[in-house]
Symmetry: C2
Subunit: 471 residues, 2 copies
């Protein structure tokens, strides 16, 4: 179980690179290969503003699993690193290029192959955007549950690569829980079909679970069989304001018996950023807002009664509640505006930590303390029902000192999260951003076992080198 | 990616075996090692009546992960095959001994380490019985969701090894969905802690998912952090009778919009076996019974209204419905009696196939046809809401010809299941029973990748050889 695969680039000669590009160009149709340096800039990075990125040697835009396989056979032959790429909306640098790589953009594999209302499954290619699939199945009275906030700009392939979460996963689970089967192309070009079309199944190891969330380091997903659900009844929505963050956290604990479909938190920094931008009439003197939805029968009236009581008992200073679809969306709008509102304040570093449910108050208090100590503005919002929060560090543009303080503060947030029994990534992934922190969470044994699996599936180490696993 | 690990026994000399037993005996306390042949008989097999089993060289009953680790280091040194064992209630021979093995009984590691009502997790050792944990958390107003029918006689370790399902998993998911973190001892003695205590988390590969359901072929689970839920409200229960199996299947399709907590089917053979035994007053002229529960608010009244309507529209011949706890349990009792009732008729071979939801009618019809063609009595019952059924083949005691016909019929059921896009095991596992059928479902690539992972984690091939992966 050694770390064999640490990035193969050193061994690649410029002659080999030229031969690789020549063969790739001969193999794929003209629109399937990009080699012009200016055009390659669009394939260089994702949305992680604080990270650098390398320069790709070429980008391929395959149309079929067979083309992906052929490209990987060629990359194996010439030891060219391969960086798979969805829509580039990632927040951990998972799709960032390394110098001399082949970037494999999956966006042209964008077909919804099948939606089965009988079997409650969708079969989709990785380049389908989450919102496109969601709308398509909604039109048939069905629900694709995973709803990352990025759903308009993120692809199913990227969602699978990071095991994306979202607002609704407090009730319906993350992307993994909606993934039944996969087609994956391995580093050596093998096309593997794994998993199933049934809800349950225990025939052999859970390879689907292994590939989901592996961020392109074990193979390239070329098709997925996804679980659908009947569309739930229309949801009711409640927005509650609190004078203290601890009050809001107490309210969340009090609504634990409710199977709410959304339980989201916004802190004062976030509330003010949203209000400054959108003028929604939020009470900017509040320390925190909770937004809770229930899609139980009858607009979740019974469930929202319990939620309202929990908020009242926890000294909510204001409660709005609606079952009207438009009003309900209006209340959700405040939460949806959170990250773009914070982005208006400067360069953002969006953290993605999760703690056990009982440690939320401690996490939130620690983030406030870290913001003070490091003199960094931090807006915190996120999926408080799951213990998964996004403290968002604001770096004024051009302020290098502030950038350094923010990076230190982010590290401090990861450290405190681990000390609370939490994880350094709830739903965004490790990518290039946090790989040197991964051992802090997994321990040496976890890293060793992960490398053993990586080496077994990608012995040449060409798949997304420099991501997830530390060198 | 070759099949390195195909069973190391051939290379073990009788001298090595004696040295192994000597060192093991010296290492563990007297009550922790069993070597007397008569006493070892109790460690030979599980509940799979149609399978043979080998003779263990010794059994160890460790108390700690450190003892498990030491035993595995010793087994690695002498290349002794290791068969981990829970409560021996398995139905695929996963815990059956191979000749000359060390059987590792986990039943003395039976502590509930922690139940946290704040974090909604339980930390347990593998020897805790499912029903013990369920009762313990129920006493604190919480729910451990996975409820295999074997819950009184199966251990959490065995449930994890097979990724056990159960009646409630139609609403709450299988064991995997309730497993957050694991401590696992690997073949070389490494003690790995993997996963987390948070609901969400994407830091590194999903090793928890890989070990859950791997049936002791990748390591020995010594502790698990399990997800708990608030106890749901009391359930209402409905029992509906149908004159035709297709009617019952149509009713199931009609209740798809309902988040029922149980949707179970029994066919006529099963109904009659239960009624002959228990005299519950079931209508033995019915072709099928459905038992449906809802634990939504107010005894799931709204949900059960929809269920009742679906049954009526599908020509149910009788409907009973209750919100009284005792009556409700009475209705469930018919389903709980299904397997023991069928066991009274002869030796049973309990199948465990699952098909996509839309293919249930075809599966049930095919099983009836196969019963006729092979002249085998088959009682079918199971988790119809998940597409997971247990056609149970009855072999009259001492009838060798019938045994042969039953094994052929079982093969035919697996074949038709695969042709319907299903899986050969929904929740019981592959074990020794179905390993030579696994390639039919996984394909050569799936088998090759599985062996690559197996060899990476267990290079000497000592962990539960002859199980799951075909030779």
């Amino acid at each position: 179980m050694q770390r064999l695969a640490s990035g193969p680039l050193g061994a690649v000669t410029s002659r080999a690179r030229a031969d690789f590009v020549g063969e790739l160009t001969a193999m794929l149709p003209p629109e399937g290969v990009v080699t012009r340096p200016e055009a390659l800039e669009g394939f260089q990075r994702d949305q992680t503003h604080v990270l650098g990125a390398g320069k790709p040697l070429a980008a391929a835009l395959p149309r079929t699993a067979a083309e992906v396989s052929a490209a990987l056979v060629l990359a194996s032959k010439y030891r060219i690193p391969v960086v798979p790429r969805g829509a580039g909306s990632g927040l951990a640098g998972g799709a960032n290029a390394v110098d001399g790589c082949l970037t494999l953009s999956m966006l042209r594999m964008d077909r919804i192959v099948e939606i089965s209302t009988d079997d409650l499954v969708a079969v989709v290619q990785p380049g389908v955007m989450n919102a496109t699939l969601a709308a398509e199945v909604a039109g048939q009275g069905l629900l694709y549950a995973p709803d990352p906030s990025s759903l308009e700009i993120s692809s199913i392939g990227g969602n699978l690569a990071t095991n994306a979460g979202g607002l609704r996963c407090v009730k319906y689970g993350v992307t993994r829980e909606s993934t039944l089967g996969l087609e994956v192309v391995l580093a050596d070009g093998t096309i593997l079909r794994t998993g199933r079309r049934t809800v349950k199944g225990v025939a052999g190891f859970d390879l689907v679970g292994l590939f989901v969330g592996s961020e392109g380091t074990l193979g390239v997903i070329t098709e997925a069989t996804l679980r659908l659900r009947p569309a739930p009844p229309p949801a009711g929505t409640l927005l509650a304001s609190f004078a203290g963050l601890a009050d809001a956290a107490e309210a969340v604990a009090g609504m634990r018996g409710v199977s709410a479909s959304v339980i989201e938190l916004m802190d004062q920094t976030t509330i003010r950023a949203v209000e400054d931008w959108q003028r929604l009439g939020l009470d900017t003197s509040s320390a925190a807002i909770l937004i809770v939805r229930s899609d139980g029968a009858d607009f979740g009236r019974v469930e929202l009664d319990v939620v309202e009581l929990a908020c009242q008992s926890s000294r909510a200073t204001g409660i709005l509640r609606s079952t009207d679809a438009l009003e309900s969306e209006g209340l959700m709008g405040a939460r949806r505006a959170a990250f773009p509102a914070l982005e208006r304040l400067g360069i953002t570093l969006l953290e993605d930590v999760a703690v056990p449910r009982g440690r939320i108050v401690e996490l939130v208090a620690a983030v406030e303390r870290i913001a003070d100590e490091h003199q960094v503005q931090i807006g915190t919002f996120g999926h408080v029902g799951d213990g998964n929060l996004h403290p968002t560090l604001i770096i004024p543009r051009g302020d290098e000192a502030a950038r350094g303080r923010a990076l230190e503060a982010a590290d401090a947030i990861l450290a405190i999260t681990l000390s609370l029994g939490g994880t350094i990534s709830g739903e965004h992934g490790i990518g290039a951003l946090k790989r040197e922190r991964l051992a802090d969470e997994l321990g040496p044994e976890g890293i060793r076992v992960s490398w053993a699996i990586k080496n077994a599936l990608d012995p040449l180490g060409i798949m997304n080198p420099g991501k997830v696993l530390p060198s």
